[in-house]
């Protein structure tokens, strides 16, 4: 950028527009982007509700109020302030069920992603770093798992062992890790060729340490983005399984089950599906926004000084 000479006599010159010294007035273009306050608050609320579910919820999530079934949400025709978000076909309070459902859905999503991401990252880095036969074997296994119809395996397994939270976590994790493995492997393949890995090897640093200290931190931002995107997918997967009767055993509430429950009554009681559906949307979108922000924050090249 060419320097603009100050006019003779002028002791103060306004910097030219767009000069880097002045922060951009268009705040949405600044790096890193503003903290996603609203999504963080939403996630905070959902976590708070999940943790203190039994204190906050006005009713038991499994208690039927058959005389009050199909009560509309408060403010709508036929609604009452007793059931803020209405009741379902058995008269169970939807507000209480959503709060308790948050606990179940978040626990499952969290554990599944923890297990899936750990296994997947381990496999991906090892396969990508060592390459060769080991890589071929591990990636064939990943492809194989991705090719197996999850629902079928789930049905078989649940018929044998019975439906439980533990089972569903196991099944969904087993289905989730190959996605991590594949993406992390391809990242590792390009990182492995980088000169800093070569320099580390030249300095005599062990393969294990190179994978842990040089490759892993460089894939963390990818991992975080992947995990946040997976929150939605896992919640949906779990609901699909629950819907088929091989997931969370009823009457326990999970958001997926609640959406499924309302499916047959969409015309008479739209709120039964809509409210848990909205909860899922809010959770997923919030996680995605926070994930994007985190990715930028974690990249030292994008940091402000």
């Amino acid at each position: 950028m060419a320097e603009i000479a100050a006019p003779r006599g002028a002791d103060w010159v306004e910097p030219p527009a767009g000069s880097p010294a002045v922060p951009s007035r268009r705040w949405w273009l600044r790096r890193p982007p503003i903290i996603p306050t609203l999504p963080m608050i939403m996630i905070g609320i959902i976590f708070f509700a999940a943790i203190f579910a039994s204190v906050i919820a006005p009713f038991s999530p499994t208690k039927n109020h058959l005389f009050d079934s199909f009560t509309a949400p408060w403010g709508w025709e036929g609604g009452s302030s007793t059931y803020i978000l209405g009741t379902d076909f058995l008269g169970r309070d939807i507000f209480s069920r959503i709060i308790h459902g948050a606990r179940i859905s978040l626990t499952i999503a969290g554990l599944v992603i923890l297990i899936g991401a750990s296994v997947g990252t381990l496999v991906g880095i090892v396969a990508g770093y060592f390459g060769g036969l080991l890589d071929s074997i591990l990636m064939r296994i990943a492809d194989l798992v991705l090719g197996i119809p999850l629902i079928l395996v789930a049905i078989v397994l649940v018929t044998v062992t019975g439906a439980s939270v533990g089972n569903i976590i196991f099944i969904v994790s087993a289905f989730v890790w190959p996605r991590y493995a594949r993406i992390i492997r391809s990242e590792t393949l390009s990182l492995r060729e980088q000169d800093f890995v070569m320099l580390a090897r030249v300095a005599g640093i062990s393969s294990r340490r190179i994978m842990l200290r040089h490759i892993l931190p460089n894939v963390v931002s990818t991992l975080i983005v992947l995990c946040t995107l997976q929150v939605g997918q896992v919640v949906l997967l779990e609901s699909a399984l629950s819907f088929l009767g091989v997931g969370i055993p009823p009457p326990k509430p999970s958001w997926g089950i609640m959406v499924a429950d309302g499916r047959t009554n969409l015309t008479s009681g739209w709120w039964i599906s809509l409210t848990p559906g909205l909860a899922i949307v809010v959770l997923v979108v919030s996680f995605n926004l926070v994930g994007d922000w985190l990715r930028d924050r974690l990249d030292p090249r994008l940091q402000r000084y």
Partner: protein, 320 residues
């Protein structure tokens, strides 16, 4: 003899066929001595360096030869021992300084990591050692810079940090510098070469200096090996090689260079280096050589001894 490389051969088995970017090279290095390796881009200089450290990237393999460090064959050492050798006795400065640091760590951590391979130090003395190393490679106000990330430093500074990682060991015996200055500007280049010389005088390691820059080689090296298409074609004391080259390729290479006190036309070498998947059966330079004969095209020439330390692989080495 500190380091002796004998008939080292690297082979790549690819879909396009077999290729040997390093095809039976031999040389030796004494303590405190500097060997220059020069040659066109792609002739296998970096690959030779990787092979000596046993860091040939897959699918490449070392298929033949010996690398003797103080008489021990490194090609027979276990992977763990080899790692110790790299951490303690042999090291390399890489070609591209900009990419040779990990972008997600402060540079101090990276130097410290390399130090811990060869030395057990407590936290405080580790930090001191790191600062000392950075000062040794002439990084100004090193105590503050250890917390900086690579992208906050200039190319020259990064090159020095990478250097500090390569020099981290206390008992370095062999250092390979692979075109350490090509990415730097001329003044920084000169400083870096001075630094290398100083360190060598201090520590007394043998230095293998890979370069395109004959000027730098002339300044730094005791002897020079000229590489062409995976083979060494001429070896000799630096003065002799520069003033009385015997191999036509060495002559052609020197003719490409401007000289200060001479006015003459620069002669680029005609033609291209041979395809590594199909080297010519005879002398590899024959297709580009102005004086190649039938013999050159059909048979590979053995080394001809010209002087005590001067050898050239040319059928007509004794004729000019």
């Amino acid at each position: 003899m500190l380091l002796e490389v004998k008939n080292l051969r690297v082979q790549f088995d690819t879909l396009m066929g077999l290729s040997s970017p390093v095809d039976g090279i031999s040389f030796s290095l004494e303590k405190g001595e500097t060997l220059g390796i020069v040659g066109e881009s792609g002739c296998g200089k970096s690959m030779s360096a990787s092979a000596i450290l046993r860091l040939v990237p897959p699918p490449g393999r070392i298929v033949d030869g010996e690398v003797l460090l103080d008489g021990t064959d490194l090609l027979k050492a276990s992977a763990a021992n080899m790692r110790q050798v790299r951490g303690h006795y042999m090291s390399m400065v890489l070609q591209d300084p900009v990419a040779s640091l990990n972008p997600v760590f402060p540079i101090g951590n990276q130097v410290a990591e390399a130090v811990t391979v060869s030395q057990r130090l407590r936290r405080r003395s580790l930090k001191e050692k790191v600062i000392e190393l950075l000062q040794r490679v002439r990084i100004p106000s090193a105590e503050n810079r250890i917390y900086e990330y690579p992208h906050q430093m200039s190319g020259g500074m990064r090159q020095r940090v990478a250097g500090a990682i390569s020099f981290a060991s206390n008992d370095l015996k062999v250092l390979i510098a692979d075109e350490p200055t090509t990415a730097l500007d001329v003044t920084v280049q000169a400083q870096y070469l001075d630094l290398l010389k100083e360190l060598q005088a201090d520590v007394g390691f043998g230095l293998i200096f890979i370069s395109h820059d004959i000027g730098a080689v002339a300044e730094l090296c005791d002897k020079v090996s000229v590489m062409y298409a995976g083979k060494i074609v001429e070896t000799g004391p630096t003065r002799t090689i520069i003033n009385h080259p015997r191999h036509p390729y060495t002559k052609a290479l020197l003719d490409c260079l401007p000289r200060l006190n001479e006015v003459k036309r620069l002669e680029p070498i005609g033609g291209e280096p041979p395809n590594p998947f199909a080297f010519p059966p005879g002398c590899r330079f024959a297709p580009r050589c102005p004086r190649a004969t039938e013999l050159c095209h059909t048979q590979y020439p053995d080394f001809v001894q010209i002087d005590e330390n001067h050898d050239a692989a040319c059928w007509y080495a004794n004729e000019s």
